[in-house]
């Protein structure tokens, strides 16, 4: 384990009966960075998180969290981790203040610490006006800030966010990410799972999971540069016909329609891919304009998870 890794796993595996949810995962999650987990539903993101937090016992393999073995030291790492669940899971029928008080007590904070930190976090997360309000009467963004404040009350060195922005609007999402970067500056290690590409792109490092396996790992920019596929974009009056003519070709790994454009992932071994595509279109007598394009994170995702599917 390198000195700067907050969490590392080796051969981490979890089976449910005969189904493999997480398949021999080797991860090194560096300190004070945002580490993203990207993957379709059922790819094993939540299961991995739960094992890292000691909520689920691994079938095989090892987890090390800040020098503690999981699940052996599961109880000890609870105070090192702040966990924000996918669903809002504070008490809807307790006020903002009561919820924070409760979490502070459960986390074992002294009365003075509680008072001080609750004051601070109400201010930091702009919840002062809502102190007496119940979460059921808050907006999605306010609720989310409350959940974050509660997860951070005991100042955990690690923050785990399970799809934190799936229920909020884009502006709230932006604000939320600003907050996360401030936490990074204070030294917090953040693990976040998402299926939004723009969010994944904001992470320092990214792990792409597919059917429990780690298919791709690294900094988003590096991943996009080393995608291992060529991207071309095709426009034309009859996208359906273009699609028909390209489907089934060995060189074409994937076709995605983006509005009036067709996005094609091609075998990188092909020389001058745009010319090849033009030729195919011409022989099928289909009209279309072809340009090469830069790979986006979505292309990385598709190349990593969809290659064998088409």
């Amino acid at each position: 384990m390198s000195a700067s890794a907050a969490i590392s796993t080796r051969n981490l595996t979890r089976r449910f009966g005969s189904a493999v949810a997480v398949d021999h995962l080797d991860l090194e999650i560096p300190e004070a960075q945002i580490y993203g987990f990207l993957g379709p539903n059922g790819s094993g993101k939540s299961t991995t998180f739960r094992m890292l937090c000691g909520l689920l016992r691994p079938t095989e393999g090892e987890v090390n969290v800040l020098g503690h073995q999981v699940p052996r030291d599961a109880e000890r790492i609870r105070s090192l981790i702040g966990y924000m669940t996918q669903q809002f899971s504070l008490y809807r029928d307790l006020s903002v203040m009561e919820n924070l008080q409760f979490m502070g007590q459960i986390q074992g904070l002294s009365r003075r610490d509680r008072r001080q930190r609750i004051r601070e976090s109400l201010e930091t997360y702009q919840l002062e006006r809502f102190e007496k309000r119940r979460p059921e009467n808050l907006s999605g963004g306010e609720r989310q800030r409350l959940a974050l404040a509660a997860a951070l009350l005991h100042r955990p060195p690690i923050l785990v966010l399970d799809e934190p922005t799936s229920a909020v609007d884009p502006q709230t999402r932006r604000d939320f990410w600003e907050t996360l970067f401030e936490l990074i500056d204070q030294g917090t290690t953040i693990l976040v799972s998402t299926h939004y590409m723009d969010e994944a792109e904001r992470c320092h490092r990214l792990a792409i999971l597919d059917r429990g396996r780690l298919v791709c790992e690294g900094e988003p920019l590096t991943l996009m540069q080393n995608i291992g596929a060529t991207v071309v974009e095709i426009t034309g009056p009859d996208l359906k016909a273009i699609r028909r003519s390209l489907t089934g070709l060995n060189a074409v790994w994937n076709l995605t329609q983006l509005g009036s454009r067709l996005h094609a992932l091609l075998d990188p071994g092909i020389e001058r891919p745009d010319a090849v595509i033009r030729e195919v279109l011409a022989t099928s007598n289909v009209e279309g304009t072809v340009v090469t394009a830069d790979a986006g994170l979505e292309d990385v995702f598709v190349a990593a998870t969809g290659r064998n599917r088409q």
């Binding site: 909520l55 689920l56 109880e75 609870r78 669940t85 899971s89 504070l90 008490y91 459960i106 986390q107």
Partner: protein, 373 residues
């Protein structure tokens, strides 16, 4: 036609969902089965084998013959022997027997006098059915074998005194409120305690609170204790309410000590809360907790001795009833309220409540893991 099709679609969907909801399905099948078995088999109005204490002070051949005749009716089953009426009363107090048979020293002389009862039946009248059952043997035809030639066998003519006089204890007027109200404390507590606790935890699971809680340092036992304590207080508040209503509205006697009563209630509330917690580890949604509570409540009401005498039930039902806290609480609360018994007289039911509490809590804590697998 469209309307029919839509109705059929909804009905078909409903049946599918019903068949897949195992607990509801179990209720559809289970509740009628439980009721029919309990009423038809376990609950027997034709009560037999009442635990009896016998004090045969006469000790003659006739008195022994009479005892064996009484036993032969199968209405009573002798479990204790005594020398005096006081001993029989003690046994009644401790719930060791529900009927005492006293055959006095001058039994033979009384036998010859059709205007006087020859013996006495001491009956625990805190149970709604037992006095009626016992009255059936108070006047059994008895034909003394060794009667003197002059003696006329007692045949129970209208003018005659019955063979036994009845002494209903603790509730001489036979008021039904006296029989029902103390046990009602237990029934209400079973319902509210089991339901409240099971729903309290299941609700946290349903709303996702539990997923958050298990990521915190709070221990299972701390969580359970914290969950239970408010409900113990609520339970004791309910005891106070029902008791006050019983005393002021229905004139229920309070013969024992109030402290004893609260200690017994505390033990009972604890045991029922244990059951509630256990249910909460099984049920996934609040409705399931409600359904499972029903499965505890129904046998509790029917098998505990609250309405139907415990002694009248067949063995398997009695064993099952031992697992229900209400069975033991009915004995305790009737003993303390109506008989003026002290906890020292009722150690056995108190211990059993303790065992049920320990068992249900252990199981609940073992089942409730602080993990998701």
């Amino acid at each position: 036609m469209r309307a029919l099709q839509r109705i059929a679609a909804v009905a078909q969907k409903e049946i599918r969902q019903l068949a897949r909801d195992r607990l509801t399905f179990a209720m559809v099948i289970g509740i009628p089965m439980i009721l029919i078995v309990l009423f038809g088999y376990a609950i027997n109005m034709d009560v037999r084998n009442l635990r009896a204490g016998i004090a045969d002070q006469a000790g003659t051949q006739n008195s022994r013959w009479l005892v064996s005749e009484l036993v032969a009716t199968q209405v009573i089953a002798p479990v204790r022997w005594a020398a005096t009426a006081e001993e029989l009363e003690q046994q009644l107090l401790r719930n060791e027997i529900v009927v005492g048979i006293l055959i006095p020293r001058d039994f033979e002389r009384r036998l010859q006098d059709p205007t006087r009862p020859a013996g006495q039946l001491l009956v625990d009248a805190t149970d709604p059915l037992i006095p009626g059952v016992v009255s059936a043997i108070a006047d059994i035809p008895f034909d003394p074998r060794l009667a003197a030639p002059r003696m006329i066998p007692r045949t129970g003519r209208a003018t005659d005194s019955p063979l036994f006089s009845m002494r209903p204890f603790y509730n001489p007027e036979g008021r039904s409120a006296v029989m029902i109200v103390p046990g009602t404390i237990g029934v209400i507590l079973t319902f509210t305690m089991v339901l409240f606790t099971s729903i309290a935890i299941v609700r946290e699971r349903e709303r996702g609170n539990l997923e958050l809680l298990i990521t915190t340092p709070v221990r299972t036992i701390e969580l359970m204790a914290g969950k239970i304590i408010p409900y113990i207080l609520i339970g004791l508040l309910q005891v106070t309410l029902i008791l006050s209503a019983g005393v002021f509205l229905f004139d229920i006697p309070l013969r024992g000590s109030l402290v004893d009563l609260y200690v017994a209630s505390l033990a009972y509330v604890a045991a029922t809360l244990g059951f509630g917690l256990l249910i909460s580890t099984i049920a996934k949604i609040q409705f399931q907790a409600f359904q499972l509570t029903f499965f505890v409540l129904l046998p509790s009401i029917l098998l505990s001795g609250f309405i139907f005498p415990f002694d009248g039930m067949p063995r398997p039902a009695q064993y099952l009833a031992q697992a229900l806290p209400l069975t033991h609480f009915v004995i305790l609360v009737r003993g303390i309220l109506l008989k003026g018994a002290e906890l020292g007289d009722l150690v056995a039911p108190l211990q059993k409540l303790g065992v049920l509490f320990a068992l249900s809590m252990t199981l609940a804590i073992a089942r409730f893991r602080k993990r998701l697998d």
